[in-house]
Amino acid sequence: MADLSTTIHNIKLRNPVLTASGTFGYGIEFDDFFDINKLGGIVVKGTTIFPRQGNSYPRMAETASGMLNAVGLQNGGAPYFESDIYPKLIKYETNILVNVSGSTIEEYIACAEIINELEHIAGIELNISCPNVKEGGMAFGTSCPSITAVVSAVRAVYKKTMIVKLSPNVTDIGELAKAAESAGADSISLINTLLGMAINAETRKPVLSTVTGGLSGPAIKPIALRMVWEVAKAVKIPIVGMGGIMNATDAIEFFLAGASAIQVGTANFIDPLISLKIIDGIDAYLNRHNFNTISELVGCLQM
């Protein structure tokens, strides 16, 4: 057994595998399937200060090697999370992070303030990259000044580990990552979904109610790898890589590109047990290649 443990800022992970926001519910939904304490951590779904109904149906379109979604941050709001969900999460020993989103900087701050009071939440993932909301979301994550504004504002109120989740729908991801780092991010996670679209040729209508949506799944992995590699060269803080990871080999590729940990997203929909298989597969890889620790592999790309 290799040592799979790692750290993201102050968060100690028993292994580098987390589950991505919006693909793992609150973790509770997986209790029937497996003991989620075996994970490095989970990122619970996008939480905003006010409840959100999300977008209308249809919200999903299957694509070649992936899917588009347009959920639109449906959630009960941070006060609901605190009163109704958080008490159910205290039983878990794994790291629980909350993905925090908003339409305005004030909403991000208000949400982060509530989460800051929750002892059992290890950190937040600041979502400035959701492509499926009309206001806020990705709009904050696509320019350096707006990243600086929202990240520094939340930094001022959130005391524990703050990961900033970046959008791939940008020209120079490295510059944006630097802006987040300078504004106080403890870690960068990437990538969120790519803006895409599906059309039904028979009806001559868009498939999604919102016309456009976020593309995820193996179709986006090459883009995600390239962006993790670029960000790894641009910042010193640890990177959490994601985008189309379907198996342990995919995860290894992200470590080689410079990620210290990874998140499994869309693959959870197809195989609820996939993150456990990925943990086992990473261990097998490290043993096969004579690595003692996962950290030795990070950024180990041979050029």
């Binding site: 109904q53 999903m60 070649a64 899917m67 799944g217 929909f269 195989d271």
Partner: protein, 260 residues
């Protein structure tokens, strides 16, 4: 005891071709089956490179003696074509049982089951359970044409069977709601259960509402996961968006925001 949801590789025991586009698969469950409720569904992995997501199917029938479940596959696209072609002794990764079931009558009642298209699948498991509980079961199946009606002999074992076809080749000509049962006897039923294409369910729900008869429908929205985390399969209810996979797939039509 209600069965926990699980993901398992199930062996195909039989693969029966019912007609041009319907196959009935019998899948062996390795662990001992616990109670699966009519209306619950299974999400099947498709072994085909062009298909990314699982495909959800109502559980058609459960054989507790042989520890098998049946799923009815209607061939629509690549995914269903591939599943329907699975050879006997092949394996299909299956997540089940998912969702909740129909609300069963507390005592013996006169009930009407209305099924159309692949929606007949959940009506089969429901008819079996209702019939075993000694309810007075009527089953009305609608289809385009005679050849699209499946398993009629099987259905007739569990209740009085009626049919409609759009071309009049079997039973009453027209849609299910054109059947005289909706004109003459609808208020005689204490409950109506329905699964089929949405326009059919809306039409049936409308008839039920006019006579103030309890009506439950099983919805089939596109979904990515089937267990309540992708939030893609939502339907509009009087309590806001609800997931078809976990809050349904069965809904009382009073809860839905259908214009009926």
């Amino acid at each position: 005891m209600q069965m926990r949801k699980t993901v398992q590789n199930l062996k195909v025991i039989t693969n029966l071709r019912l007609n041009d586009d319907h196959h009935l698969l019998e899948l062996k469950v390795p662990d001992r089956l616990e109670t699966i409720h009519p209306g619950q569904f299974a999400n099947l992995l498709v072994d085909h490179s062009g298909v990314f997501l699982r495909r959800p199917f109502s559980i058609y029938s459960v054989d507790y003696e042989n520890n098998t479940i049946y799923v009815l596959i209607k061939v629509i696209g690549e995914g269903t074509r591939s599943l329907a072609a699975t050879a006997v002794d092949g394996f299909i990764s299956t997540i089940f049982p998912l969702g909740g079931g129909f609300t069963l009558p507390p005592a013996k009642e006169r009930v009407l089951l209305v099924g159309g298209g692949s929606g007949v699948a959940s009506m089969m498991s429901l008819a079996q359970v209702l019939s075993a509980d000694l309810n007075d079961v009527s089953i009305l199946l609608g289809a385009r044409s005679k050849n699209d009606l499946i398993e009629l002999d099987h259905f007739s074992r569990y209740g009085t069977l009626y049919t409609t076809t759009e071309d009049g080749t079997h039973g009453v000509k027209g849609y299910v709601t054109n059947h005289p049962i909706f004109r003459e006897e609808i208020d005689q039923f204490s409950r109506i259960y329905c699964c089929g294409p949405e326009p059919m369910m809306i039409a049936v729900a409308s008839k039920a509402k006019m006579e103030s008869v309890f009506c439950e429908v099983s919805l089939e929205n596109t979904m990515a996961c089937g267990f309540g985390v992708c939030l893609c399969c939502i339907t509009e209810t009087i309590q806001g968006h609800k997931c078809v996979c976990t809050d349904g797939p069965v809904f009382n039509t009073n809860q839905l925001k259908w214009q009926i």
